[in-house]
Symmetry: C3
């Protein structure tokens, strides 16, 4: 393992890429809340009585809201563990070219996942493939981290 | 970016503040499980057949339980991405005064959110405002991190 | 606090243990997605219309799927905050023996939790105890981090 001050440095293109794409993914996750709000307002489907009252409707469940919420939860279940394991992977001295492209492909795959799941619904296997690309990358990074620190 | 050993140090008041308020938020999240358990027991509303049997009732859904669970999920969707992006923000050499106050306001906003959502229900816009304060801070930190590491 | 380059180093057995068990827990969380998929296919219970159509069934909810999903959400609610607070704990100069065993017991407790919750259902208090062991460890690490950085 190289010295930590060389890894966690803005001079290190792998770390710069990790931070850049990581923050872009956080912004993507923040946008999920807006997509949910848009569907709640459009379909007048609120989960809390106090929100429903404000809109003079009853609490109800609407499939378009639930779809965005499932996509959001899928982000939570996948992107957050990815952050942790990609930090470990960063320390295993990976080839910069490989590491940076893994960050890029992961980010693109998660954007694609949200698009085909919650924005413009596309038939399978579009969602399956985009999800699996991110899943494989996370698994690979976990494997590399486990063997490095074992 | 300053050297990493100067940033990640107990001598650095910004890092000390990041760690202190971060851990306080983790404790706040841990408490959500107790709030859920309290509502489950009070309303005899259990999600698992084995828990319901133990209490000699049937599995059921109760609005007071669901409300705490929504507040908990909101924490997961907001606080966990905040941790990641506030770590990046920490490295962008922010003015200590600004950074420490952002950590404080964020923490206060999330405590307020839980209070008005799941402890003593207050009409809107109390929940909306407390949620949005945290949302804005996370978005600002993501923006700063993205531009710094781009 | 020791210098950060001594803590975040593959030479430091506490950090090596933190990274190793952390990545193992990420793999455990990744497996939850496979367990969910298995139950969805076995019970032909899909949440999305496009998935149900592919299997020529209607969207439906099945208890065996929901059980795995609850176990997965419990991981998200517990393991992800643990990662954050155990990183803080790592910096508080803990006795290596104590820290490494806390990582081990936490990991074992979460594996046990998944096993008795979502793989082979065991009556309470098996799930309660395995959950509480992890909860206590996270709370202890949060307490140590808060007092250290206060």
């Amino acid at each position: 393992m190289p010295a930590i001050n060389e890894i966690l440095s803005v001079e290190n293109p792998v770390f710069r890429s990790y931070m850049f794409y990581g923050s872009v993914l956080v912004v993507k996750m923040l946008v999920m809340s807006l997509l949910t709000a848009r569907q709640r307002i459009k379909n007048k489907a609120f989960a809390n009585p106090e929100d429903a009252e404000l809109n003079k409707v009853k609490v109800k469940v609407h499939e378009d809201v639930e779809r965005v919420r499932r996509a959001h939860l899928n982000d939570v279940e996948n992107i957050l563990p990815y952050f942790l394991v990609s930090f470990g992977y960063l320390l295993t001295n990976p080839a910069p070219f490989v590491a940076i492209w893994l960050f890029r492909v992961y980010t693109a795959a998660r954007f694609a996942h949200t698009l085909v799941y919650a924005v413009a619904v596309v038939p399978q296997p579009a969602r399956g493939i985009s999800w699996f690309a991110g899943y494989l990358i996370t698994g690979y990074m976990a494997f590399r981290t486990i063997t490095y620190f074992a």
